[in-house]
């Protein structure tokens, strides 16, 4: 993220930036990751507000850091802000990106969840929850598989897969704290064993 752009940002550009996230918010069914291609098109390809390297680093850092992966959106806003001036506009970029991304979905989800809680004895609400149960479990398994194979599907990656599988077994069957497992994974990776 060394190479920066020099952008001139006025109210119009910030508004456009904010509205981009507002409009993406309700499309992000299944999380922010699904909207990455659309953000790339808007920020990198069309507006040239971010470099390719800045875009990719924003996602990689948010994945590696603790906390929700959606924080990559904060980093995208931060980098757009840096390109448009400095640290202050970086903070402004974070605020606009996160507010735009979260306000519409938060309002909808909160109200839907409260409605569901009040009406949880309705047959349709119970049917939804029972019906979605096995699919939720299937989706969580899929997330695990997709994340385990992000480095590629070539058989050369078997040590990484083995490590994922062993982690799953340990975490399933023991009470060992997750931070130990993560530390072990970081050390094994640091020394280049996987």
């Amino acid at each position: 993220m060394n190479a920066q752009l020099e952008l001139v940002f006025g109210a119009a550009e910030w508004l456009e930036f904010f509205f981009h996230y507002l409009s993406l918010s309700l499309l992000a069914v299944g999380g922010g990751i699904a909207t990455i291609p659309e953000m790339h098109r808007f920020l990198v390809d069309n507006n040239l507000w971010l470099t390719e390297a800045q875009f990719n680093a924003s996602i990689a850092i948010a994945q590696a850091a603790p906390g929700p992966n959606v924080l990559f959106i904060a980093l995208l806003g931060w980098n757009v802000g840096l390109n448009a001036g400095g640290y202050l506009s970086g903070l402004w970029g974070i605020f606009l990106a996160m507010a735009g991304m979260l306000i519409p979905s938060t309002l909808l989800t909160y109200n839907a969840a409260q409605w569901g809680q009040r009406n949880r004895d309705l047959r349709s609400v119970r049917a939804f929850k029972q019906g979605m149960g096995p699919i939720v479990v299937g989706l969580i398994m899929s997330t695990s598989l997709i994340l385990a194979t992000t480095s590629g599907h070539s058989l050369d990656h078997w040590p990484l897969w083995l490590m994922s599988a062993i982690t799953a077994l340990i975490c399933w069957r023991t009470k060992l704290h997750i931070l130990w497992l993560l530390t072990a994974g970081a050390l094994i990776g640091w020394f280049g064993w996987v």
Partner: protein
């Protein structure tokens, strides 16, 4: 608040408790927070049963927005209304945002070192395994599902193949397969 589950169940004591709990939980979430939510809130704090976790997660999935963010809104809102939802959300985001920014500022110096890339790769593999374990643990919550184990296994496998192998867009799986499963559950609940 009449809709709260059993009164003797553990629950967050205050907004502060909610904020601190979600902050501590999110700070352990490398590569995603979902595995930690299950571990902390279901197994340790027992604010949720495994069944409730699956139900809430279903809502969090179907609604737009990041799943773990939605989850924090649902859980915070259940105990303290809108105030609770906002406090849980803030707990989920405040500390990690600070860390992510710090990391972004120092990233440039260390990005080129192969050890750093290796450590990230190793942590990624562990994170994938942790999420797999969450799925395995949650299968036990399907035992009492009205669909019965055969249908549960079928829906679970079909969604797994559709998403992980065929890369079908999530929206189709959630609304298509989810609609089918919910309809089936609706009919079984009548009987």
């Amino acid at each position: 608040m009449s809709s709260l589950p059993a009164p003797d169940r553990p629950r967050p004591e205050s907004l502060t408790d909610l904020f601190v709990s979600f902050s501590l939980l999110t700070l352990q979430g490398f590569g995603g927070v979902m595995a930690i939510v299950q571990r902390e809130l279901v197994e340790k704090k027992r604010w949720l049963s495994a069944e409730e976790f699956i139900e809430d997660w279903a809502v969090a999935q179907v609604m737009p927005g990041p799943n773990v963010i939605n989850m924090s809104l649902i859980i915070g809102g259940r105990y303290f209304g809108l105030k609770g939802a906002m406090v849980a959300l803030a707990g989920m985001l405040a500390a990690p945002l600070f860390i992510v920014l710090t990391l972004a500022l120092i990233y440039a110096q260390f990005a080129s070192r192969p050890e750093v890339a290796g450590a990230l790769r190793g942590m990624g593999a562990v994170a994938a395994g942790l999420i797999g374990a969450t799925a395995l643990k949650l299968t036990k919550a399907l035992k009492n599902n009205v669909l019965g184990w055969r249908w549960c296994a079928t829906f679970c496998l079909v969604s797994l193949v559709a998403i992980a192998a065929l890369r079908v867009p999530l929206v189709y799986v959630i609304f298509g397969l989810g609609g089918l499963a919910s309809t089936l559950a609706y009919r079984k609940l009548q009987a």
